[in-house]
């Protein structure tokens, strides 16, 4: 099953090339250099994983992570950074990040994490659907 991924990083040359390599591996990749656009895209699309740079202009990566997880808890977010401190990593995981990858990223390792994200998201979505169905059945009194 094709993994649907959103790459968010202010380094255009980086996401352009990484995106091309991921597409060549069969993934459905969207890219953006803006956090505001990323929030919009994440609301509109059903991404299996969002690969998000921690240090972005306009809005800090952790702030974006917090907003995304509040709006869409099922979203699987992998944080990507050139500045991996243990404190930031712990903070990111506490805020609900699925994983943390340091730049330069190894594409095989990143692909593996994206596949894990897809599997995790599927389980969460199935659970959500199950709960919704239960709610409907209980509400209707069937």
């Amino acid at each position: 099953m094709t993994e649907k991924v959103l790459l968010v990083d202010d380094e255009e040359d980086f996401i352009e090339t990484l995106g091309e390599r991921m597409r060549a591996r069969g993934m459905d990749v969207s890219t953006t250099t803006s956090t505001k656009d990323a929030l919009k895209k994440a609301q509109e699309g059903s991404f299996d994983a969002i690969v998000l740079d921690l240090m972005m202009p306009e809005m800090d990566g952790l702030e974006v992570l917090k907003i995304l997880k509040e709006k869409r808890p099922e979203l699987q977010i992998i944080l990507l950074t050139g500045q991996a401190t243990l404190e930031k990593g712990i903070e990111a995981m506490k805020l609900g990040a699925m994983d943390f990858v340091e730049k330069p990223a190894n594409l095989d390792a990143l692909t593996e994490k994206i596949r894990n994200a897809q599997a995790k998201k599927m389980i969460l979505v199935e659970k959500q659907t199950e709960e919704k169905i239960k709610e409907i059945i209980q509400g209707k009194g069937w």
């Binding site: 090339t17 202009p57 050139g82 500045q83 330069p104």
Partner: protein, 221 residues
């Protein structure tokens, strides 16, 4: 060692850590792009092994991207090197325009992340003082850090050096938000310690939306 010396030492180390941390992050970004382009090149060779032709134009673009990032990383390393050497001499003759440009370069990424543009306005003739170069860079950064939170609508901080009768003055301008910011905490202990060490004075002019640093012509040894 007195408390004041400890304060300056600690502040200096924090400044050094902040700047080198930001610059190493930049180098990592350049390396990440080089890494992806090398990976793409590898993908092309794998495709060529399977009989797919390689587009020479694409190879040229990849090479150009790698060269661009090598130049970028080289520039950052040069800045880091110059920064490291600014501690070599305790007191030296400093051209203030150059100092402002240098601090603006050092803090470029930190400003950009906060959505702030730094504009150094060059004067007609060079303004030179004999001072503690590293302490001055540190003090300008601390002022800039405060100023970036007080920038106006366009989110630009102006920096300029002017000659005065007894030395020079450095100005951080276009700080339209200064009046709304609480200035009681600024200058704080760190800034005050550096001002003492530089025999400098700091004034906040809310009406002109400026922070002004007054520096003596020669700090002495």
């Amino acid at each position: 060692m007195s408390c004041r010396c400890d304060m300056i030492g600690e502040t200096g180390l924090q400044f050094y850590g902040k700047m080198t941390g930001s610059m190493s992050h930049e180098i990592k970004n350049a390396l990440a792009i080089i890494n992806e382009n090398a990976g793409l090149l590898e993908d092309f060779t794998l495709m060529a092994d399977r009989g797919m032709p390689i587009d020479a134009g694409r190879l040229k673009t990849l090479a150009e991207k790698v060269i661009k990032q090598v130049q970028r990383a080289d520039g950052i390393v040069k800045t880091m090197n110059r920064f490291a050497h600014s501690i070599d001499e305790s007191v030296k003759n400093v051209e203030l325009d150059e100092t402002l440009k240098f601090v603006a370069t050092l803090s470029g990424r930190l400003a950009s992340v906060r959505g702030v543009t730094l504009e150094v306005e060059s004067g007609a003739s060079p303004v030179t003082v004999a001072t503690r170069s590293f302490f001055l860079e540190n003090l300008v950064w601390l002022c800039l850090d405060f100023a970036m939170d007080a920038t106006g609508g366009g989110k630009t901080v102006g920096l300029k050096a002017e000659q005065t009768e007894n030395g020079a003055r450095l100005k951080l301008t276009q700080l339209q938000g200064l009046s709304e910011r609480t200035t009681s905490a600024f200058p704080g202990e760190r800034e005050t310690a550096l001002l003492d060490a530089l025999r400098a004075e700091l004034a906040i002019d809310e009406r002109a939306a400026e922070i002004v640093l007054m520096l003596p012509r020669d700090i002495g040894q």
